[in-house]
Symmetry: C2
Subunit: 209 residues, 2 copies
């Protein structure tokens, strides 16, 4: 597993980085429809002409900010050599990403703003980057190890986990998502709430009353 | 089950209704941070002074629009007398709501804008309205019928379904979510992907080929 932040492309001078960070923070706060380069400049602590000169439109600024760090907007994919371990880490990683300004900006753009034709290109690139990171690899490896049946609907499984985590993280903003939730979610998806947590598929032990 | 749209409160003249509809459409399109009363007026086909005079701030317009139709922003709760039937209908109902301008506006506000202190009141009322509709009643009734164990984590189960559906509906904008997806999701949550779809704990009926 990677322990360091993934490298970012096309980042440069501290001023540029500060403007991109401020862009993500404002995108996370108000979305693309409310983005204002003057407020971005104020948040970055630079003169507004610095922003207007380099990015003549709001769209060009947003494109440049995302292009500087596609990888920062999507979760890394764990490889713990068990399906359960990988999925639980993916839950934690998704939570971390969606709490960051980059990740929240990307989620907002992806879920709500991608209808705007001028944003379709950015949304497609984020989607492709996420696909390239390969969350489905988790499932391919699990199929290879015999932990999942070969016909498993990989998109369905990943999207169910992703949707449940996004919803929870966005609604519960105080404090990170806890490990108990990650276990409960992966138990539910793998075994179902009717079966309960982590029972082995072998004969049940009798319990004394 | 209800077949008619739930009644809405505080709706009145056609002009008011048109302005509220336009408000939801713009909220769904650009979010609260990008909302502009002039564009709302243009979309509603009224003079901008009509909007400015009645709602002196963007916030007052948004509050009035939601107050006119809290119930239109949250899903109705089915009662089909089986857990599976209720959850599958809830999936379809959530999809319908999130595709409507009211529902998308509410989702956007709830997931992304509720941090803004001035919107906390609206978000809390939408949340309370959703709670009052009682999605957890589905689970209480199922517990009463012996379909779910008494200790079931109701918030977890409802939020997992809600999150998975919201994510899917917002990402796949063309065409309604299909019944096969609703079945697959409820199968996964109740029985787990490892168990597969809808296996009865009893002996299967043989089908003729």
């Amino acid at each position: 597993m990677q322990t360091k932040q993934a490298p970012t492309a096309a980042r440069g001078a501290p001023v540029t980085d500060a403007i991109f960070e401020a862009t993500f923070e404002e995108l996370a706060r108000v979305g693309y429809g409310g983005l204002n380069r003057e407020l971005v400049a104020a948040r970055a602590g630079v003169n507004k002409s610095t922003v207007y000169r380099r990015w003549p439109t709001t769209l060009s600024l947003v494109e440049a900010a995302f292009a500087s760090t596609w990888q920062g907007s999507v979760p890394r994919v764990p490889n713990t050599s068990t399906l359960r371990g990988d999925l639980e880490m993916l839950v934690v990683e998704l939570d971390r990403i969606v709490r960051s300004p980059h990740g929240r900006a990307a989620a907002r753009l992806f879920l709500f703003d991608a209808r705007a034709p001028e944003l379709a290109g950015i949304a497609a690139t984020i989607g492709a980057e996420e696909e390239a990171r390969g969350p489905k690899l988790i499932l391919d490896r699990a199929i290879g190890r015999g932990e999942l049946p070969p016909g498993t609907d990989r998109s369905f499984l990943i999207d169910t986990v992703r949707g449940a985590v996004l919803f929870r993280t966005l609604l519960h903003r105080n404090g990170r998502l806890d490990a108990a939730y990650a276990r409960e979610l992966i138990d539910a998806v793998l075994h179902g709430v009717l079966r309960g947590p982590d029972k082995k598929p072998t004969v049940k032990k009798k319990t004394r009353r």
